[in-house]
Subunit: 159 residues, 4 copies
């Protein structure tokens, strides 16, 4: 038994990629933490997050919250790709599991829609980095499950 692959998602807004890229550019927090948007597909986002001294915790690794910030955006924008042009996306909640210290130098951040609902969507994501000891392999740094809400009209303005 398998879930529908992301490629089956039919965006309601043909210009979803431009819309998502425009919104991402307005998230000052993404520039602050060193996150960049790499791919925008139907129900799917790929970003990168760079290690730098300013995003670290006390041991020199990227702070778990900073990794989570990138993962949250990846999930939110993955959901946004499937929403109507006039809608906004709101994160209701998310949960992250931190599996390995985030050493970098560059994390790959992925977000994919697991369920696209009219009001509520769910997206899952992963953060990867080059494995510190196994050449050619990637290491899973963190996973996320996020619940997103489609907001329109006054709600969109309000949030």
């Amino acid at each position: 038994m398998t879930a529908a692959p992301s490629s089956d998602f039919q965006p309601a807004d043909a210009d979803f990629a431009a819309r998502v890229r425009g919104s991402f550019a307005q998230q000052a927090a993404m520039a602050l933490i060193g996150a960049e948007l790499v791919e925008v597909g139907p129900g799917r986002i790929v970003m990168t997050l760079a290690h730098s001294a300013r995003v670290t915790q006390q041991h020199g690794f990227i702070h778990a919250g900073i990794v989570s910030t990138a993962l949250d955006s990846a999930c939110g924008y993955a959901a946004a790709t499937l929403m109507p042009a006039e809608a906004g996306v709101l994160t209701i909640e998310f949960k992250v599991n931190l599996l390995a210290p985030a050493r970098g130098p560059l994390l790959r951040i992925e977000g994919r829609v697991t369920k696209a609902g009219r009001t509520i969507s769910v997206a899952d994501g992963q953060a990867w980095q080059p494995h510190p000891t196994r050449a050619g392999e990637d290491q899973l740094v963190a996973t996320i499950t996020a619940t997103l809400m489609t907001v329109t009209g006054r709600d969109n303005v309000r949030h």
Copy 2:
């Protein structure tokens, strides 16, 4: 039926406050996002998080991930106050619920230990801000539950 209040926690390390303040000062990410450490008690942390243009999302509110970053640190350090001097604290996972847009101007970030275990601890936290329409009231912006691990020896170095 009530849980033991935080004041019942007996820190294993009498210098817990200085240790936590020193570690916090080494978290470059805290300065980056505008978070400051206000109170350090046994099993309890209070921080502030300031709104500024650089931590915002596309609607001008503080990015949910940035609020989560402060909440994660508050929970981690709340757990750290009860750990032995030589131990380190590692966030295994956390879950946040986002209840209101983070407008600021200054969020109060609290973290409290719910269970202090030898290996695994659990902490809960809240982010508050002045209510945007009800004078004199505070508004709950977000809640967190975090699972922390006490790491010692080689594990402490590794992470």
Copy 3:
């Protein structure tokens, strides 16, 4: 800074208690696991969950999932107390932390609304039992945070 106490919640439906008790009685799963409804207040539910051989895991404690089932119902009905008479409540997601083995003989299960929204509500809950070694004290067995949705009309039927 403190959250509004539960007593501040104003139910939209004066008959909320009868409505919730009626719905609870229709949840066959509650009888199956040995859960009973004790108190129904505005934004607040108290239940009990009895230890019995049939709800155990391999070590003789109540299965974590069974404790979670009671906690989920407590949160869902706490949210339902504040909903319109014609609305239904749907659990979108929940997270539980398991803090101590569930020995019983009788767990006290509490659910309280943390935020009551028009569409989305959040409730938190706890499971308590008599402390196994400290006479007169209670032990926290598990905590839950649940996200609930108010469903009306066709959605209510569909789910």
Copy 4:
């Protein structure tokens, strides 16, 4: 970038399948809710959960908590397949997202290890059912992420 497939996991205990099946048989709660163990592989479990009147909520669907109970066991036993023979497995916490009403008649419950650590493991799982309107397709009912702990010696007895 891809994670190591489950088939790469090397069980520490050659008799893991018999051990897991024996433990599952001792979980009275599994029989109570109608869950059966179907497959036991390295880092992977498949179970079924049958719809019956006694596990339902007020609308006749399987209670979200009952689905979660099966998912929790699937994740716990998936982690247990990779643990030493003398170890026990303990669920620290889990989060479930509920994506569709659980109609049955038979749910397929899967659990897979995402990270197998010495002390802490993380497993993810899914519950599927035949799609109610699209013949030949399956519908995703719920997802879980669970954090598990390897317990040995006195801890194993205690829990």
